[in-house]
């Protein structure tokens, strides 16, 4: 537990000091929202909030990739794995700590993303339920984080690392985006039954659980040389 806390603290301190990941994510968000906004234009945004909400989820995933690509970067670039692996710490704790700090980065980026999203796309017209959106974001972040922490280890050995990680991750993001988008979009016009909403939130939680279990079991194989 102490090791876990120390590792998470290390990631957060490093990010605060080097500002490598989160600012890049924020700039990326702003750029993509601008791009999409201008590409769709006012008249063409007839699909309106529904299209925009769906698009938000795609952007969330793409932004997450920025954080995932930099996960374990320090350990790789400075050979620090030898130090960490030589310590009497269970490998899955390293994975859990990385997933935890990734989750924090994602959540922080979305604190900015949601208001920006509202500003760019939702000012007029109907909007999705914000509490549901936030709950979905937090749950989706957890899924991205647990899977991303594992995949970041996998991709780091490959040749074209920055290209490989998105390729490895995106198939897993598809079901996530499918359900999260459906969930958010449904809250725009109709009032979906609480059961339907819970079912989809439950799916996100199940997704998190399945990949957390797989990550917990498989991470040691990824880091052992």
């Amino acid at each position: 537990m102490r090791a876990f806390r120390a590792l998470v603290r290390k990631d957060l301190v490093l990010e605060l000091r080097t500002a490598e990941v989160v600012p890049a994510m924020l700039v990326f968000l702003l750029a993509v929202f601008t791009l999409v906004r201008f590409a769709l234009g006012s008249s063409r945004l007839a699909g309106g909030s529904r299209a925009a909400t769906g698009m938000l989820w795609a952007v969330v995933v793409l932004t997450a990739l920025l954080a995932l690509t930099r996960a374990f970067a320090q350990e790789r670039e400075h050979g620090i794995w030898d130090g960490l692996l030589g310590a009497p710490v269970e490998r899955w704790i390293m994975w859990a700590a990385k997933a935890c700090s990734l989750w924090v980065f994602l959540a922080v980026s979305q604190v900015v993303a949601v208001p920006l999203f509202w500003l760019f796309f939702l000012q007029q017209g109907p909007s999705p339920s914000i509490p549901v959106l936030i709950a979905a974001l937090l749950l989706a972040d957890a899924g991205i984080a647990v899977l991303g922490a594992l995949l970041a280890g996998l991709a780091s050995a490959g040749r074209a690392r920055e290209v490989l990680l998105p390729v490895l991750f995106l198939p897993f993001a598809v079901p996530l985006v499918l359900v999260a988008s459906d969930l958010s979009v449904a809250t725009i016009s109709q009032q979906p039954s609480g059961f339907e909403t819970l079912k989809r939130l439950g799916f996100l939680a199940a997704y998190d659980t399945i990949f957390a279990l797989l990550g917990w079991a498989l991470f040691e194989y990824v880091v052992e040389e």
């Binding site: 594992l150 897993f172 079901p175 499918l178």
Partner: protein, 235 residues
């Protein structure tokens, strides 16, 4: 003893190949001549007898690949890596056929090249994406224990992806407009069932044959590479 083992492998592939040929011939005959045309969809519905068996075979290949991936992580035996990789590889080939036959079926049945309301097709699309990513991973890591380990880990992650995709596609029906008619009728009569099962058996046997043949080929490749290394004086 070497002779015996080679002969045993040859026999396996030959037996499977023969069985596959027989089953395939039977299946083709049944599909085109035996089974009656579907009442609502007509002759073109017969694509179903190719499409679904191939899809099921793809899932079977994937499961076999995942099982061997888990066994590899357990035993660290490189031959298990090969036995995991080959089914995944065949899965991509069969998977492409699934997508093609699925597309054809959508075209002849409803005039569209891809049926976005089909839960099976869309689930399959996600799995196919995953297969492709597996290959990207495989090609970007140099051969050796690490590639085997990473491939095994990713294959096992895919095991989580299958139920997740099925559930997601079913939940996400809102995005893809629901279509209410069912595809292959409420019941299949006996001749349809028989045709389907024979076709399924044929596809599975074809997969087994290709698996055994490709496995043998890859093993030979490795032996040649090993001998070449020895000849070069163990670099």
């Amino acid at each position: 003893m070497r002779d015996g083992s080679t002969r045993a492998r040859l026999d396996g592939a030959t037996v499977a190949g023969t069985a596959a040929a027989v089953l395939m011939a039977t299946a083709l005959w049944m599909i085109f001549f035996y089974v009656p045309s579907d009442a609502s969809e007509g002759f073109s519905q017969r694509i179903f007898y190719f499409h679904v068996p191939i899809a099921l075979t793809t899932y079977a290949l994937f499961c076999w690949g995942a099982v061997n991936a888990a066994r590899y992580l357990w035993k660290r035996d490189m031959s298990l890596d090969l036995k995991s990789y080959v089914p995944m590889h065949l899965g991509v080939i069969f998977g492409t056929l699934v997508l093609i036959t699925g597309s054809l079926w959508a075209k002849v049945s409803w005039g569209i090249w891809w049926d976005w309301s089909s839960t099976e097709l869309n689930t399959f699309l996600i799995i196919f994406l995953f297969y492709c990513a597996y290959f990207m991973l495989r090609f970007s890591v140099p051969a050796g224990e690490r590639r085997a380990t990473y491939s095994a880990v990713y294959a096992l992650l895919g095991v989580g992806l299958i139920p997740v995709s099925v559930a997601a596609v079913h939940l996400g029906q809102d995005i893809i407009h629901p279509i209410t008619f069912t595809r292959h009728g409420a019941n299949m009569d006996n001749s349809m069932l028989a045709t389907f099962l024979v076709s399924l058996a044929a596809m599975l046997m074809l997969a087994v044959t290709m698996y055994l043949v490709e496995l043998r080929g890859k093993r030979l490749d490795e032996r040649v590479a090993h001998i070449r290394r020895l000849a070069q004086g163990r670099a």
